[in-house]
Amino acid sequence: MRSVRERFPGVLLLVVTMLFCIFPLVSMLSAALQPQGSVPSGISWPSDPQWHNFADAWKVADITPLLVSSLILVAGVVPLAALFATMAGYALGQLKVPGGNVFFVLLLFGLTLPQEATIVPLYYQMRDYGLLNSRLGLILALVGGFMPFAVFWMRAHFMSIPKDLTEATAIDGASTWKSFRYVQIPLAIPAISSMCLLLFLWTWNNFLQAITLIDEPSHRTMAGALLNFVGQYSTDVVLLNAGSLIIMAPTIIVFLVFQRQFSKAMLAGAVKG
């Protein structure tokens, strides 16, 4: 056990890193509170913070439909992706379906595949399906894109559940589906819910698919709408920063509320992925 003094350089570095992490956000807040139309300079706490800038930015950037749009996308993507991934994870991790390894290797490939490589063909594919500019199209594309990570995650969970359980329920005459529904899913709830947190975050923050598959900015995700917002207000530093902070706020709030679960999920997600 080392003394506090010996650990001082480490603590100092950690604190500096912490400051580095919030510095850009503080700089944003300082700019967002300056009088509108002024040209802010660096970080300075305004003598008269203009909190109403946020209300104005909300109106100018038309945040309400964006919020609704993001919620619709999350409500579509998260349950669907979670259900499909849980079922597939069960098939691969517990039932050990024959040929499951092929599926598994395909998923591994998907984990390293850059989204940019598929986005252009995906665009034309969606055009052929008539799903361009529709939220349904974006939802389906995101669910597909999340499958490698999500199935991987649920497979890891089901691998850790002893096989005896499946066999015991089989003796009882419970069908595979019933055993899945009433025994396996309840046991998997912690794994499923941390996965849902990550899926929520990635859907909400989705950018590439949102800006390419949907033309109308107000039908995109909050993050996707930023592209248009910057185009329109790049010269108005005050409003741009206020608007961007509003757009970041929902994920930050959700993160602060579910902090423990989030950090656990992100660490586990990284290690498993």
Binding site: M18, P24, M87, V120, S263
Partner: protein, 313 residues
């Protein structure tokens, strides 16, 4: 939803009437019917990920503007990606970004973790965790906006430089041909540093404290302890950090598009933004697809050896 109901019915039909004795047979049948569970995920993955990547491969041999008839051009698109300086340069840029996206966060994180060693300052680590995760929580596009403001002539970076007497260094960072790419890199360091630090500190907690005690008793100094205890103990975590951040560097998109759009000139152009511009602004679908395939192959070529290296103990 119908597929789920279908699964239920098949499952009952198989499992229902079969008693305990016939278990081996029933197990074999359920294992094949188990595919019904995997089917929805497989279909979504094949249709929205695998099919597009196969199509990209096909497109990459054609010259196509997305509307008129396409023309087969063989490997012409690949030849251009790998010979034209403008296109090849983007790959160079993305490899340069690895210094900022990977090297700085991983060495910084390791340094902090090593200096802290079996930290018992619980309160500090909990607070640190919250703040260090923030860059990962906000959308990359929003992070880019924050940094555009930081790097502007009136921004906080120049303010800081003035405050420490380095007035001569101040500039519009993202508009500077020499400094724009390193500046974009700094955004990447910001995204990765906190995450790598937390991951490495948490990995550190799993190393048996008595090993450090033994090293101390053997008279091992800081550097020796770091080399023979900390580094091997964190091997898996380092592998994870390196893998994730290298993919983030090579496939960078949102922060570059939102901060510089590849400019000034093409000094910060990376493959991801190039694909977006070629594919959606210039409608050169074949060339965009070829860049995508090259990027995919590059990432695999870099990641697979790294994975192998960090798996071996």
């Amino acid at each position: 939803m119908s597929s789920i109901l279908g699964t239920a019915r098949v499952g009952e039909a198989v499992g229902g009437p079969v008693g305990g004795r016939a278990r081996p047979r029933s197990r074999r049948t359920t294992s094949w019917s188990g595919w019904l569970f995997a089917l929805p995920a497989l279909v979504m993955y094949v249709v929205f990920v695998l099919r597009p990547i196969v199509t990209a491969f096909q497109y990459s041999f054609y010259d196509w503007d997305g509307i008129t008839a396409s023309e087969f051009v063989g490997i012409e698109n690949y030849r251009r990606v790998l010979t034209e300086p403008e296109l090849l340069g983007t790959i160079g840029h993305s490899f340069f970004l690895i210094i900022f996206f990977t090297l700085i966060p991983v060495t910084g994180g390791l340094l902090i973790a090593a200096l802290l060693q079996e930290l018992k300052l619980r309160g500090l680590v909990t607070t640190a965790r919250t703040l260090l995760f923030l860059p990962q929580i906000i959308p990359g596009a929003a992070a880019a906006i924050a940094w555009v403001w930081m790097f502007s002539s009136n921004g906080a970076v120049n303010q800081l430089l003035r405050a420490i007497g380095l007035e001569s260094l101040t500039r519009a960072w993202l508009g500077d041909f020499t400094w724009a790419l390193p500046s974009v890199g700094v955004i990447g360091s910001w995204l990765g540093l906190g995450f790598c630090t937390i991951l490495l500190i948490s990995g550190m907690g799993k190393i048996d404290g008595s090993i450090y005690e033994a090293a101390r008793l053997d008279g091992a100094g800081f550097f020796n302890t770091f080399r023979s205890v900390t580094l091997p103990g964190l091997r898996h975590e380092i592998g994870v950090c390196v893998t994730i951040t290298i993919i983030a560097a090579l496939a960078s998109f949102d922060i570059v598009l939102m901060s510089t759009q590849g400019g000034p000139g093409s000094s910060t152009m990376v493959p991801g933004v190039l694909i977006y511009q070629l594919g959606f602004t210039e409608s050169r679908v074949g060339l965009a697809s070829a860049v995508g395939i090259v990027l995919t192959v590059l990432i695999l070529a870099v990641i697979l050896p790294i994975q192998r290296f960090f798996r071996e103990v």
